[in-house]
């Protein structure tokens, strides 16, 4: 029982600031008080949790190799269908801000023929994609918003990944928040590096100056406050992925 309670406390620390802290805190206190039924908060323990995570990786494979289509487009909406508000979150204590936007660069490196360092103006000068799509959060909410930016495929064209490159690690200046992506998902025509939202420059709350956006993924896969794209030959981890959320995160 004690062991279980300790584990429960550990997982409480890993909760998302965006996942309504108050609710989780209340749940945490409630589950601590009811130690007799502590097993009900059970994440599987050291015995079953690894098995559940193995199935999660199997589900990643099913999602990536069977259910995902590189050409199927997410439905788009008329801008009049935009939700009034799109919730946002970051893992830093305070909102991550770029001190000197002119000095900010997106660094593209790793297994590429041509490493890049791109300013916001460089990105804006590249091909542009804009759409109004539905955002799916792993929590279960959804909202419609418009985004514009440069397709990741255009960056790929420019940096020319080496043959062994299979994944991309997206890194940010939000306290180490990062995501790993498979190349096929990154090359989807609707996967973009967004510098604009709802016809305006990307707000700081939503990841300014640059964030990843893809209507084919759950929200937590779309790295905000981007710093770099590193091409790798193995699956890079990610902030939530390393804590137990599905790696593929496709919808």
């Amino acid at each position: 029982m004690t062991e279980r309670r300790e584990r429960g406390a550990g997982s409480r620390e890993q909760l998302a600031p965006g996942l309504d802290r108050r609710t989780f805190l209340r749940l945490g206190i409630a589950s601590g008080a009811t130690s007799i039924v502590a097993a009900c908060g059970w994440d599987g323990g050291s015995g079953i949790r690894p098995a559940l995570l193995s199935v999660s990786r199997l589900n990643d494979w099913v999602g990536e190799k069977i259910l995902y289509s590189p050409t199927r487009l997410a439905p788009t909406y008329d801008p009049s269908r935009r939700s009034e508000r799109l919730p946002h979150y970051f893992i830093s204590r305070t909102m991550p801000l770029v001190r000197d936007p002119a000095a900010w660069r997106l660094v593209v490196d790793g297994l590429v023929e041509r490493p890049l360092s791109l300013s916001l103006d460089d990105l804006i000068a590249m091909p542009r994609v804009s759409y109004t799509v539905k955002h799916h959060c792993v929590e279960g909410w959804s909202a419609v918003a418009s985004w514009h930016g440069v397709p990741v495929s255009a960056i790929v064209d420019r940096c020319r990944p080496r043959r062994e490159a299979r994944c991309i690690a997206f890194t940010s200046f939000d306290d180490g928040y990062a995501n790993g992506w498979d190349l096929a998902s990154a090359m989807h025509p609707q996967t973009i590096l967004a510098y604009g939202m709802n016809d305006n420059p990307l707000p700081a709350a939503h990841g300014a100056p640059l964030r990843l956006y893809a209507p084919t993924k759950l929200g937590y896969k779309m790295t905000k406050y981007l710093l770099g794209m590193t091409f790798t030959d193995r699956r890079p981890g990610g902030y939530w992925e390393d804590r137990g959320y599905p790696w593929f995160g496709g919808v």
């Binding site: 749940l27 409630a30 908060g41 059970w42 994440d43 559940l52 999660s56 929590e139 909202a143 137990g244």
Partner: protein, 239 residues
């Protein structure tokens, strides 16, 4: 556990003395029955944990689908499995495969063995279902004669398989609303699919409670039959 012979309906009075047990449930039926029970408890409890992450239905800023007696409800800890959202998702996305497998094995067994005939509710069962309903409502004193299952049981056991299929399909509609957009559209969109998925929970819970109550009140011998396969209760005939 067996009720006294006097409680048996007149049609069955030929079974005087110690009843001979009859083989009622194939091992596959018993295995899938108890597995389904465990899996559904796991699916519901992990589902209630997942629900807590966003305890309402409808687009952000839009109207919320009603009725939902559980809007913004946090379910008690004893009813939830997984500890937090990711933990619950991992349970849910593991058990879903077991649920699908169990459902397929059960349905294929019924189809292959011909036992579906004793289970599937058909239009001709309607008059018998009304008689059974009268009996349960005390509008009729004696228990109508029945075979392995009475028409209301057939209705319940046929429907719950359909509800299971609905739970799986609406679940996939939520799981992959872009890749399986046709399915999600069939349920009326992502948020409505969540809504229907949630209602299948309460149908399962309602079924479970009714099922267990009726087993103990009407035919406790059927519980032993679902464990051992052998039935020695008051409705021994087989269709």
């Amino acid at each position: 556990m067996d009720p006294p012979a006097a409680a048996a309906p007149p049609e069955r009075t030929i079974h005087h003395g110690p009843r001979l047990p009859v083989k009622r449930h194939h091992g596959l039926v018993r295995a899938t029955h108890w597995l389904a029970f465990a899996v559904i408890v796991g699916m519901v409890s992990s589902g209630l944990q997942i629900y807590g992450a966003y305890a309402r239905f409808g687009e952000r800023g839009g109207p919320h689908y009603q009725p939902n007696p559980f809007q913004d409800t946090t379910f008690p800890a004893w009813a939830r499995l997984g500890g937090w959202l990711a933990g619950a998702l991992n349970w849910h996305f593991t058990l879903m495969w077991v649920l699908i497998a169990v459902g397929l094995v059960y349905v294929l067994y019924l189809a292959g063995s011909g036992e579906w005939r004793a289970l599937v509710f058909r239009p001709r069962d309607l008059p018998g279902a009304l008689e059974m309903a009268k009996y349960y409502l005390r509008l009729r004193a004696d228990h109508p004669p029945q075979g392995k299952h009475n028409p209301l049981q057939k209705l319940a056991y046929s429907s719950i398989v359909l509800v299971g299929a609905l739970a799986v399909l609406s679940g996939f509609a939520i799981y992959k609303p872009v890749q399986l957009a046709w399915l999600t559209t069939l349920f009326g969109g992502f948020q409505l699919a969540r809504y229907w998925h949630f209602w299948t929970v309460w149908i399962f819970v309602g079924f479970l409670v009714t099922h267990v109550v009726l087993v103990f009140v009407v035919d406790p011998a059927s519980l032993r039959a679902m464990v051992t396969g052998w039935y020695r209760g008051r409705f021994p005939s087989h269709d």
